[in-house]
Symmetry: C2
Subunit: 387 residues, 2 copies
């Protein structure tokens, strides 16, 4: 069934997917979700007749800011996906949102009885929106309960955990996707395409920086045991992703330096990290993330004929693309794309139509390995080779 | 005389100079030239009565593109400076420009009889606009001939040469300035001031990138013996300068990687260099220069309250400043400032009024040491400490 569907899909796509050179993924895998989410399409796609799938039911695991502010509202806009359950340590909060979103109270679980979702047919998948260090446990338990797993970034806090998550999903024959939402966002998809098609000639430099000033000093992001690291884990990972998806290459080595301006606030994790990635073609990416700088949010990929830039590049909406090519500038309107809706429907489509996923567990694991190398480089002040 | 003039100047400046913390230099030293060059002023200044000085007469040494396109036209706009001689290996070219700019034919010299400028009272100073590796010899011979020296960047091609240039000018009691024109440019001066006054809070990151696609593969910039290096020497030095003048700090260590996409064209010097500078406050600067990328020309300095950016930052005119502070953006019109006129008149003012120079030989020498460390780092793939 899977091969058949995939073949039909590629056929309908007119062969463009095969010509698109991004690390073995097809443009279609990124782009098809646009139509599924009812938004403007990036490129040609085909929808299966609606009777061949039912909307995928999601339980949101963890009711923090990203779940409340982004995931739940997005699930009111999705076409292939709906909100059908909650897993939370706060029963009152869960009941509040269950009422708000019309979710039956029976579909509320806590961290102890989480595994009982196995017997709930309303729940096909879980959206893991917990602090980083909990991603592995709740992904593995979700898969063992027979559910597909869409897990927030970073995938986890160690390479070992990432491998265990992939193995658990594979063993349970469940799909696993990391919520790298920019792989499902129009302007970023266009940027990837332009770079991979060498529209500026071969890319020779990428830079990327992402920062915000972190508030509450008691939050989990500053707790190493929950976050697994500092600004690198939370936002530097976007810079790393951009460097990888714009070049379409995997880094051969990294060099990184970390520092913090406030040793009290940043006693466990780094405030600032500068990291440099060296790619096989020679291109170097300069990246910087910080929990102590306001409002940096951009990347640029540059070649002999010019460059493409996004600023903002990484936030949830309002992204702006700026292109300099052959001596002329063009710029776009800010995006209004709902990145979360697109991302969630992309996962649903992959499950429903048995398609490949643009950002599977393996994609998250690759980042975990590179981030571990960055931290090793920062500790040793040596360049670290990646294998 | 020197102390007296300097004291009067500082007094008239109302004490602001003393409060301005840039590495021992005063804002006045940078800013006063604005009025001397007849352009909009950056900050308060005072001119000496005109009878206390006569315009400084400059011989331009080397008639290449920067001399023809920038230095000579600028010398028609200066108030304290005038074009009075040429030193060139091309007598026809020299005669052509002597006629064009009303310079007596007797004031044309070649590289053999250059030292005879000693007896020419029309020539008070030389503007060294030769390929990099010739800067040392022609600076030293100029000083020995009793002339003040304004020398293009990079100062030279080795630390040893830089030291010899400073020693020669000191021995001859002549002034030496490196033509770092952005120290005499309005928006860059404002950027320095805002950063040093911590208007964005303490700066936590600087990035800078400068690139163009180099044309003629036979040009001296690609010849190691003439250029002393590749894009780092020619344009990366602007990124290095920006990191230093925006932070107002000197780097403790550097890490750099070089690479070239075309081993034929770049057989002697690097096409691309990425370098990372670590400063005492912790701040890291990420810099990139390239001879193979079109149109990168910017820097940003960022802190907890926002950032200041210039793009373009480094070219001769049309610079634009962009500020993000407290959640709001502001941007300037492109600059129309004549950077070369301001820079040349600043040197004349320093000679005429016996003032300190914002960018003396020592400033150039510091860059030569850092550049040497960058190349060492690129060779060894190790971070290199600066002493």
């Amino acid at each position: 069934m899977r091969d058949h569907t995939r073949r039909d899909f590629l056929k309908s796509f007119g062969g463009a997917a095969a010509a698109w050179p991004f690390a073995g993924r097809s443009m279609a895998q990124h782009g098809e979700v646009a139509e599924a989410a009812g938004q403007r399409r990036v490129s040609g796609s085909v929808l299966m007749p609606p009777d061949q799938w039912k909307p995928l039911g999601y339980a949101v695991v963890g009711i923090g800011s990203i779940a409340m502010g982004e995931v739940m509202p997005a699930l009111t806009k999705t076409k292939r996906s709906r909100l059908t359950g909650f897993v939370s340590g706060h029963p009152d909060k869960a009941r509040h949102f269950a009422q708000l979103y019309g979710v039956p109270e029976n579909n509320i679980y806590n961290y102890d009885n989480y595994d009982q979702i196995a017997s709930n047919p309303d729940i096909d998948a879980v959206y893991i929106a917990l602090p980083n260090s909990m991603h592995a446990e709740y992904t593995i338990r979700g898969a063992k309960a027979g559910k597909h797993v869409l897990c927030e970034k970073p995938m986890c806090t160690s390479v070992k955990d990432g491998e265990a998550m992939i193995a658990a999903c594979r063993a349970a024959n469940r799909r696993l996707m990391i919520a790298y939402r920019l792989h499902y966002e129009q302007y970023n998809l266009e940027a990837m395409k332009m770079c991979h098609e060498k529209q500026f000639g071969p890319i020779k430099m990428v830079d990327a920086e992402f920062s915000f000033v972190i508030g509450n000093p008691k939050q989990w992001r500053l707790d190493e045991s929950l976050a697994g690291g500092g600004s690198m884990m939370d936002i530097g990972i976007y810079c790393l992703q951009a460097a990888r998806y714009l070049t379409g290459e995997e880094p051969l080595s990294v060099y990184a330096q970390t520092w913090s301006s406030d040793p009290g606030k940043f006693s466990e994790v780094e405030e600032n990290i500068s990291f440099l990635l060296s790619f096989p073609s020679g291109v170097i990416a300069n990246c910087y993330s910080s929990y102590g700088i306001d409002g940096m949010d951009r990347y640029r990929a540059a070649g002999p004929q010019g460059w493409i830039e996004m600023e903002p590049a990484f936030v949830y909406s309002g992204l702006v693309q700026r292109i300099y090519k052959d001596g002329k500038f063009t710029t776009t309107w800010p995006s209004t794309w709902d990145q979360f809706a697109a991302e969630i429907d992309a996962f649903s489509a992959a499950v429903q139509l048995n398609r490949d996923i643009a950002t599977p567990g393996e994609e998250g694991l690759r980042d975990m390995k590179i981030i571990a190398a960055c931290y090793q480089s920062a500790r040793t002040r040596q360049s670290v080779a990646l294998t």
